[in-house]
């Protein structure tokens, strides 16, 4: 009993020591990160493993929003907004529309997966890939040394309209083309 108490004491003491050592803001930061990262991963798994494709789509949207929160948490407020607008809004709507247009009878099993072998193979590939990328991420001696930057929106606007004006225009054209292409594809070029 004493031993147990002693251990509890020890842990409590450790926790206090920990609390003393860390500043609270970094702890909050960690909390926020782990919360949204965990949620994002959870929803991402939901995208894959939910049986109903509509649920999957919802789960995907949730993932997007979690990622947007992560963006916000590191001060990328414009990116976060874009993420919510484009992914959480437009893409989600598109996907839901696509689900509607390619609707099938049994919605409960509308998100089928392939066989076990395929799963094993995919797990191996994805696992190895994850292992590799994780190793790269862990082994890379990156130093977190952020420079103080101004507001994101004006900074981005400056870059976009000065140094990166050509890619910006190209991106615009690309979007236009994609739109036309999507219309043509969906409408059918031969049915004019």
């Amino acid at each position: 009993m004493d031993a147990i108490l002693g251990q509890v004491h020890e842990v409590v003491a450790w926790a206090f020591a920990l609390a003393n050592e860390y500043d609270v803001s970094s702890l909050i930061e960690a909390g926020v990160f782990f919360l949204f990262a965990g949620l994002a991963l959870l929803f991402a798994c939901g995208v894959i493993f939910l049986r109903n494709v509509v649920h999957s789509a919802l789960s995907l949207t949730a993932t997007f929003i979690c990622v947007a929160c992560l963006y916000l948490s590191i001060g990328a407020d414009f990116m976060g907004a874009v993420q919510i607008l484009v992914y959480g809004g437009a893409v989600a709507v598109l996907i839901v529309m696509a689900i509607m247009l390619t609707r099938r009878d049994d919605m409960a099993h509308s998100n089928p997966s392939r066989g076990l072998l395929q799963h094993v193979a995919a797990a191996v590939v994805a696992g190895l890939f994850l292992l590799g990328m994780a190793a790269v991420a862990v082994l890379s001696p990156f130093q977190s040394a952020p420079l103080p930057l101004g507001d994101a929106a004006p900074g981005l606007a400056d870059l976009m309209l000065t140094h990166y004006v050509l890619p910006f225009e190209v991106a615009a054209v690309l979007l236009l083309i994609a739109m036309i292409g999507a219309i043509v594809l969906a409408k059918g070029a031969d049915e004019r």
Binding site: A76, V91, V125, F142, G155
Partner: protein, 114 residues
């Protein structure tokens, strides 16, 4: 054993590595889905996941590395634009395929067989 303290210290100091690992896991999940899903729409969704993972990297690098401007985020925005076009065309294609073939299951679409 690695000191738990040290580990916790590392883990609770959110930095670039956290984001890189997170995006790697997200990407791996997307990849896993890409390889296992049958339906065309879920596959598209998985692709979106993977794209997101990439964007996270870009933004995180922009935040944590000593860079003088927001070009990393800008890259992410371009990437979003490309992803948007991709999803638009992808959805249109899926719709088209559904109309022409009556299915969106990729294992039934083997026109490319050599």
């Amino acid at each position: 054993m690695m000191n738990i303290m040290e580990f916790m210290q590392l883990a609770t100091h959110v930095g670039l590595h956290h984001f890189l690992l997170f995006s790697a896991i997200l990407f791996a999940i997307g990849l896993f889905g890409l390889l296992t899903k049958k339906g065309l729409i879920p596959i598209l969704m998985c692709v979106e996941l993977m794209l997101n993972a990439v964007n996270i990297n870009l933004v995180a690098f922009n935040h944590y590395m000593p860079v003088p401007d927001y070009s990393g985020q800008l890259m992410a925005i371009f990437s979003v634009a490309v992803a948007a076009s991709e999803i638009a065309v992808g959805v249109a294609l899926a719709f088209r395929i559904y109309r022409d073939y009556g299915t969106v299951n990729v294992d039934e679409l083997k026109e490319m067989k050599g």
